[in-house]
């Protein structure tokens, strides 16, 4: 077993005594695709906040590529190679599709470089390539705010890929998408795994099943169990806290 890319060690996050996460342990291998599920309030979003530096853990350590991320500011964590896609699509609505992607692929991200230099040829190619992956070439000069919900989701995923992170954290990528768009998004994420490590948080069980990835179940800020989708769905504890209703509906 190689060294994990990301390791959460006994993470506890307390908001004025309320434990959003308690004693959470999780590790991701390079190239892995992992799904995280859990009922509302299980701490899924806090879990991403801890990794990306938005929230500091009260206890425990986050280790990425062998270095601790605790106390590192958000933009530095992003530059180390962790990209995050938000629950509702968050793109820069007044900027065009092209400009959104240009900011994502920009490197270095220092003010002087942005002022005095344009995108180089490689970066411009990347922007076009990303637009073609998510089928937004026709929309290159559109303000991102004029895109449909699904297109915004994809634009944000494209921006994430444009950052070229080693670890992609994807929060509910298919919320509000049509079935067809959901399937396409699943294929897109699967194709990204391997080159990247991808962690997906989602409510949609069918979508998770399509990812064919190991599943981690969070409950009350704690890892309840891990395994394949079938193993997880058969676990009585999971059925009790979360999947019970889904099982009945499906059955």
């Amino acid at each position: 077993m190689t060294m994990p890319l990301l390791e959460l060690r006994q993470i506890t996050v307390s908001f004025d005594g309320f434990l959003a996460l308690r004693d959470l342990n999780l590790s991701l291998q390079p190239g892995e695709l992992r799904a995280v599920i859990g009922p509302n309030g299980a701490g899924k979003t806090t879990f991403l906040d801890v990794i990306t530096g938005k929230t500091s853990p009260t206890e425990g350590d986050v280790v990425f590529k062998g270095r601790s991320l605790v106390g590192t500011r958000e933009h530095r964590i992003a530059r180390l190679g962790i990209g995050r896609k938000f629950q509702s699509p968050r793109v820069f609505e007044k900027l065009s599709v092209q400009e959104n992607l240009a900011l994502a692929v920009s490197r270095p991200k220092q003010p002087w470089d942005l002022l005095f230099r344009g995108l180089n040829a490689t970066q411009r190619d990347r922007v076009h390539h990303l637009m073609s992956i998510v089928n937004l070439q026709q929309r290159a000069t559109w303000p991102a705010g004029a895109l449909s919900h699904g297109q915004k989701q994809w634009l944000e995923i494209a921006m994430l890929v444009g950052q070229d992170p080693d670890l992609l954290l994807v929060d509910e990528p298919v919320a509000g998408l049509t079935d067809e768009e959901t399937d396409l998004t699943a294929d897109l994420l699967k194709s990204l795994a391997g080159d990247h490590t991808v962690l997906v948080i989602e409510h949609d069980m069918e979508f998770i099943r399509r990812l064919e990835s190991p599943v981690t179940v969070l409950h009350q800020g704690h890892v309840l169990c891990e395994g394949t989708m079938d193993q997880v769905q058969a676990d009585p504890r999971v059925i009790e806290v979360y999947l019970g209703t889904t099982e009945e509906e499906n059955g």
Binding site: T52, E74, F92, P111, Q138, T141, E180, L184
Partner: protein, 375 residues
């Protein structure tokens, strides 16, 4: 089809031709008094450009630009005072003798040097803005809290300058109109005409500079900070750095505007740091159009011109009109006048009056429906 720029190019060009013609023709058309006013208002336009950069593009509403404006003015006035005080006792500006000061305070010394003065006019305000800004931005103080802090800082500076008779003549300020520059009186009509042209050129240079800053990826980052700063952090940018830089640029521009305003008004005083004046500056940009550089310039010049015309005819009336303008912008023209023109405002009015074909609110709906969803 979705390219509003190309359609609007020629009216915009025409506007610029008219503006430049007006600038060149003004000295031969306007009486000396009016020309002087125009020159002063153009220097305020430079301040407005800075405010547009930090507020219109970056979303930082500063109510304290008067600090930087006054500092630029003081820098220019100190040089002019020193330049004309060789005949006075101890060779220092006359007002010092009123307070029994016979030695020049240390910080006046470098202002003997014209080159130092020319740099200090913009560098001192810019550095102060960078330091103040960085302290605030680093602690992630945003929105209305930032505005309150800038206003508080303004009051601190206002009160400090008011009380320092022995250093900078306190409330009375520093006069420049009776000082000498290039062997001429600064207040003379010839000199004032020169300042007018110089100011007009500086406005255009400032406009070109700010335009260069907001075009391209740097400007995109500013807009991203305004619209969703946390998201930008997760994209790997450090907003604190960008905000500090633009706040310093706006401070520097305010300093240049303050110096030009001072030499054309004949005096700099702590009144330049009065709270209402800094709020007025924000109103120019709001009325002209946040995020449109031309709007900032036109807003500053036209509102100040209207103010002086109204005040001459009806001294108490201006405040009501200014209040009315502000209400109008908040309720009906959130993008300001230029912004209204750019967002199809005139066409919307025409179509409501039945004089023009209605335009669809969502562009290219026809194509949207047929497109395949295929990544």
């Amino acid at each position: 089809m979705f390219n509003p720029l190309q359609q609007r190019r020629w009216p915009l060009l025409l506007l610029w031709v008219v503006i430049i013609a007006a600038i060149v023709a003004a000295p031969s058309v306007l009486p000396v008094f009016r020309l002087n006013l125009l020159g002063r208002f153009l220097s305020l336009a430079i301040v407005a450009l800075g405010i547009d950069l930090i507020w219109g593009f970056t979303g930082l509403l500063s109510l304290g630009q008067g600090i930087f404006f006054a500092l630029g003015g003081y820098a220019a006035a100190m040089y002019l005072q020193l330049n004309s005080s060789s005949g006075h006792p101890n060779g220092i500006p006359e007002f010092f003798s009123l307070y029994g000061v016979d030695r020049l305070p240390f910080f006046w010394e470098p202002f003997h040097n014209p080159l130092f003065t020319l740099i200090a006019i913009w560098l001192v305000p810019a550095l102060l803005a960078a330091v103040l800004g960085n302290m605030v931005f680093r602690n992630r103080i945003k929105g209305v809290y930032f505005s309150i802090l800038t206003q508080a800082a303004l009051l601190v500076f206002f009160n400090f300058f008011n009380g320092q008779q022995k250093l900078i003549n306190g409330t009375n300020g520093l006069k420049t109109d009776v000082t000498q520059l290039f062997g001429q009186m600064v207040g003379s009509p010839d000199m004032q005409r020169g300042f007018y042209y110089f100011t007009a050129v500086m406005v255009i240079l400032a406009w070109i500079f700010v335009r260069w800053v907001v075009r391209g990826r740097f400007g995109d980052v500013l807009i991203a900070i305004r619209d969703d700063e946390p998201r930008l952090r997760f994209t790997g940018f450090n907003p604190t750095l960008f905000k500090t830089i633009v706040f310093a640029i706006a401070g520097g521009l305010a300093g240049i505007g303050g110096a030009l305003f001072t030499v054309q008004s004949g005096i700099v005083s702590p009144q330049y740091m009065a709270v209402p004046f800094s709020i007025e500056m924000v109103i120019w940009v709001a009325v002209g159009g946040r995020g449109t550089l031309v709007g900032a310039i036109l807003g500053a010049v036209s509102i100040m011109y209207a103010k002086s015309l109204v005040s001459e005819a009806w001294p108490q009336g201006w405040l009501f009109i200014q209040g009315g303008l502000f209400i109008l912008v908040v309720t009906a023209l959130p993008e300001g006048v230029i912004g209204w023109f750019r967002t199809d405002g005139p066409r919307n009015v025409l179509s409501r009056l039945g004089l023009s074909r209605r335009i669809g609110t969502y562009p290219r709906l026809d194509i949207e429906g047929q497109e395949e969803v295929q990544p």
